[in-house]
Symmetry: C2
Subunit: 658 residues, 2 copies
């Protein structure tokens, strides 16, 4: 007789191994952190004894559920905003609140609450993507759960970094510190192709490969994303990230709602893991991922809850049930995703998708003891049939509730016994969460009166132009001199436009600091004929992000919407307390100067009559680039024969007010 640490007996053991071995009555033997044996009682009780023998009373023992994609700190934002358009939800609620509130403290609290909820729901392992990810890792390790914790990198400032260079540097140090931890796998998460640049995606892949850690990313979540990618790159999302060598890393791709047969095969070739998020994809109306086909081709497809702000909970039993139902409903085939296969997705396939298949996801000798006990005696799970060996899987997927999980073990350590959490106290956490909720409520109630929410509430196509521009403006005496100066071998003119711009600025009383601009552009042909009229609404924020020498400014543009209603409509809708009209005639040149593209605007201010201005602008995505371009702007002003000393920091509306 061999002695082990713990023997769990009198259970229905679902191993979820390659052969789907099940034992009833079955035994799981555990020594320290690992599984030593699984099998029938009749075999194993003769071979093993243990320091602790636990009678499971006929419950199911199975591998803990794997939540393959989530944003755990967002438990603190659960129920913040629902039933909204994706852009209104994201840009109007989630991002502003995150900018304001997300901190290491917020992240640790949200993570602990999520861990408490996930343990209660039978989850032992999850793949997270958020900010201050080292704090997510710390909180998770303290509670004792297993996780891939992925530090987010974005092309615009985040709650934890003013630039992506900062995020990358943070991620490198974090990965170095946590690499090799028994529970936490540190990881990098370029948020999505459309929120990163090529440079960011390449750098993240390089880092992930250097440290051999997973790379976690959102892929093809919406049809719009794919359409934009086709428009801009002439290919769908997966070939694009493949071209950037991203798939050479151990990738976990979340969502993948809109990927085609070829893209699925590419994933198969690169052993890319997929996280399917059925609740989130329905709730945000993103679509239905082709899961049945992915599984047929052999992808490791796990299931995730996504963040609790778009779900609104961390209940994998709901996701299991929905994944199976949705695959049946979407394919018209009620045999699609049978219960056993769905349960495999939520266990072993999820572990493999997270590149943790050797460690967890099934009850096999040598793997970590990550397991749960489920009570199938409640009325909602009775009776029990035996004529079909698959019926136990069907019970778990179609009738079990998360609240039927009674015990949870991770890495050989009990995190819950008889529905009592052992490593995390909910009471204090919920109190602290309630305090955050009050602060966020206050912030939002004030903000609800803001222009942005009203703009978004219009329901017109609104885009956040989260671009940054380096810009400088110089009053000009004689525009002809500027025009002549543009004929210069250093300045290559790529494109010219001429238009008259009629702006109406809506101003508002405090506390609103933004302006809303109704803009009408009349394009003018060489013959002086109006060829096109375009109307737009732009929300212009109150502040400059940064100011460089010579009053070169880094500005951040905000929201842009097509204006399909009349000026009168917007006036009545937004009820501005002041209105300013500006009319200008603009010659706009797209030029290349020292290998960098700039816009040069030569403006004639007609209303009010302010004279002529030279404006130079260039888009930028990083601080380093912005610094470089701000120097080039100064040089370009000199080349055109104007004085950088004459730059003014005000925009036109500021000039008028002044």
């Amino acid at each position: 007789m061999e002695t082990v640490s713990i023997l769990l007996k009198n259970a229905i053991v679902l191993t979820m191994d390659e052969q789907f071995n099940r034992y009833e009555p079955g035994v799981v033997a555990i020594r320290d952190h690992s599984i030593v044996a699984t099998g029938n009682e009749s075999d194993l009780l003769n071979r093993y004894t243990a320091e602790e023998i636990i009678d499971c009373g006929g419950k199911i023992i199975m591998p803990g559920l794997i939540n393959a994609h989530t944003h755990v700190p967002m438990t603190l934002l659960r129920g913040l905003a629902d039933d909204l358009r994706l852009d209104v939800w994201l840009l109007g609620y989630m991002m502003p609140v995150e900018r304001e509130f997300v901190s290491p403290d917020f992240v640790r609290l949200g993570t602990k609450i999520a861990c408490a909820e996930m343990i209660r729901n039978g989850i032992t392992c999850f793949a997270d993507m958020y900010y201050f990810e080292e704090d997510v890792a710390k909180a998770t390790a303290e509670v004792g759960m297993r996780a891939v914790c992925s530090q987010t990198v974005l092309k615009f400032p985040t709650p934890d970094a003013t630039s992506y260079e900062e995020s990358l540097a943070y991620a490198r140090e974090y990965i170095q510190r946590w690499k090799g931890h028994p529970l936490i796998v540190p990881s990098i998460a370029p948020h999505a192709p459309y929120t990163c640049t090529d440079e960011i995606l390449r750098a993240c892949a390089k880092l992930a490969i250097e440290f051999d850690v997973p790379l976690h990313i959102h892929i093809a979540e919406t049809a719009q994303e794919v359409e934009n990618m086709r428009r801009d790159q002439n290919m769908p999302v997966v070939p694009y990230i493949k071209k950037l060598n991203l798939l050479d890393a151990k990738v976990l791709a979340a969502h993948c709602v809109h990927i085609d047969e070829g893209e699925i095969r590419t994933f198969e070739h690169y052993n890319t893991g997929v996280a399917h998020n059925p609740s989130s994809n329905l709730k945000l109306a993103s679509g239905i991922a082709p899961i049945k086909r992915m599984l047929e081709i052999g992808l490791n497809v796990g299931i995730g809850t996504d963040g609790p702000a778009s779900n609104n909970d961390l209940d994998m039993f709901e996701e299991l049930r929905l994944a199976s139902f949705l695959a049946k409903g979407a394919s018209g085939d009620p045999t699609a995703l049978p219960a056993r296969q769905t349960l495999a997705m939520a266990t072993i396939l999820g572990a493999r998708a997270m590149h943790l298949g050797d460690v967890t996801g099934s009850l096999e000798v040598g793997k970590s003891a990550d397991l749960i006990l489920i009570d199938i005696s409640p009325v909602h799970n009775s009776p029990r049939f035996h004529h079909d060996p698959n019926s136990t899987y069907a019970q778990v997927v179609y009738a079990t509730k998360a609240t039927d999980v009674t015990d949870v073990m991770v890495h050989g350590r009990w995190l819950m016994r008889n529905q009592q959490l052992l490593t995390v106290q909910e009471g204090e956490l919920l109190k602290a969460a309630g305090e955050y909720a009050i602060k966020i409520d206050t912030f939002l109630i004030k903000r609800e009166k803001s222009l942005l929410s009203k703009l978004l509430a219009l329901g017109e196509r609104t885009e956040e132009e989260e671009s940054f521009e380096v810009q400088a403006k110089v009053p000009v005496k004689d525009p002809q001199i500027v025009l002549s100066a543009l004929i210069n071998p250093e300045i290559q003119i790529i494109r010219t436009r001429h238009y008259r711009q009629y702006d109406v600025y809506f101003g508002f009383d405090a506390p609103e600091e933004s302006h809303l601009r109704y803009r009408e552009d009349h394009s003018v042909s060489k013959q002086g004929v109006i060829t096109n009229v375009r109307t737009r609404l732009t929300l212009i924020g109150p502040s400059r992000e940064h100011s460089y020498p010579k009053k070169v400014l880094l500005s951040r543009s905000r929201f842009l919407a097509s204006a399909n209603q009349s000026l009168r409509f917007y006036r009545e809708y937004f009820k501005p307390t002041q209105e300013i009209e500006i009319e200008k005639d603009r010659l706009r040149y797209l030029v290349k100067f020292k290998d960098t593209e700039f816009f040069i605007n030569l403006d004639t201010m007609n209303k009010p009559d302010l004279g002529y201005f030279l404006e130079i602008k260039s888009r930028t995505w990083s601080q380093k680039d912005a610094e470089l371009k701000s120097q080039l702007v100064v040089e370009l002003i000199k080349q055109i024969g104007e004085s950088p000393e004459a730059t003014i920091s005000q925009d036109y509306i500021g000039l008028i007010k002044a």
Copy 2:
């Protein structure tokens, strides 16, 4: 101060009335069975005192959930068979098991278990459709729940009736006995248009109108149903039932997955209620009902779980969540079915769909005190935001679990307090359910070896030909005499066919009593050319249903599948222990005799050489009709000049074996 029976205070009261009034902290005042007042504490605590004042500790009080379509006794079949094709599931498992096991005892037990589960899940009222419905009513009334209990009527024999006339007679008596009961509304349920005849549908509508009770029916659940209706009736399902005056009754139409704009408007005109069953419709791959549009047009759309054999539980919180998610996902609009509207579906709209809107479904003065308490303090439902008044509805729909329901009251009586059931004991019931499960397991394990399951398992298009035929057979000396006799003013020949039929009968050892026939028909043109070959598999049952005078038989045909594989394949697949070949040449006449259609077959038996036979057949749906036709068959035999005394009771295979 007015004294009432019970005051519930310190609660978040969601009234679900027309204005969606909510009170926090709120009060509900109850006298006897009814709601006397709802409102804010500050108002009502000064006006009312009570024999019992209950502090709800900040829980939500809302109307009990309404399960608008289910088959409650099927709790006993939960998990019996999953992940199967609809026909395999229905014809291979549900119907055979129901035929074998459904009895008043089965129905009462299953109902009580369902009531226990539903009370735990916060359901106070349901619409049922099953057999022995009076026993469903009895069990429900004993437990104290509210229900519309609908007696099923079908065109074929059911567990509780050998004919639809019997079902109708049973329903009439049952409705008479229960009409006016405070909790139970008796009702009639013609199962579906495709499982009833025009005559049945008309009779059911008449009965429902006579007693002013609801009529409960499955409508347009699958695309196939609509396609068949268009083929056979040249119209979709709703116009068809409208034509039969069915919609003049108070109809509750379940599923309605495949109805169009016009049909929705018809329902609106007739105040037809709809029961949406999102889980069942996905699980059985029936499709996604156009709920958003139905609500826009103003239908009363409730939500149902459907039976626990296709769900697999009676959890309305799962249905709520899914209804909302699915509407968003299917319409591509994340603002579709916002939480408040979804909760209305599960309460007041469901009550109206069941034609009980005056009695229950909202917390309003004068309505029955049917309400539940929900604890929203658990970790999976925290934190709580207040900036948007709709967030409480979102908490209920998106984050609440059924297990958060703590207290349930129906008709002023507590059925559950602090999660303790007060009117039903689960232990004994579950034990009895387990005993049924063992019997059903045994039955199915034996049956698994049967021909039917193997036939269905083939996955070819299998149809159950649940038709009944009256038939008689006479050996004939001279076929020319028969042919001449057909030229008769009493016999109108509608259609003639000529074909050679090659049958191979597979026989099997006991206990299998059925034969499987592989049949190849070669159609012969007038020129004697083979114009068409068709192959089919038919499962032929062992027994005759009934025998009329002169050896006229009532036979029930069984399953029919197209045979796309070779005879060799079927031989190897089914492994028959004996094979019999029969070849015949058949002249087949469709005739009208005394206003009734008959088939007259004139068969030349070539292999083995048995001579000539005259066969007369006619389809029938009711016992009365069968009796009439059996008499006509005898007359027709005489008209043709043969002797009814010479009829033989064997079929050809019987003749050969004899």
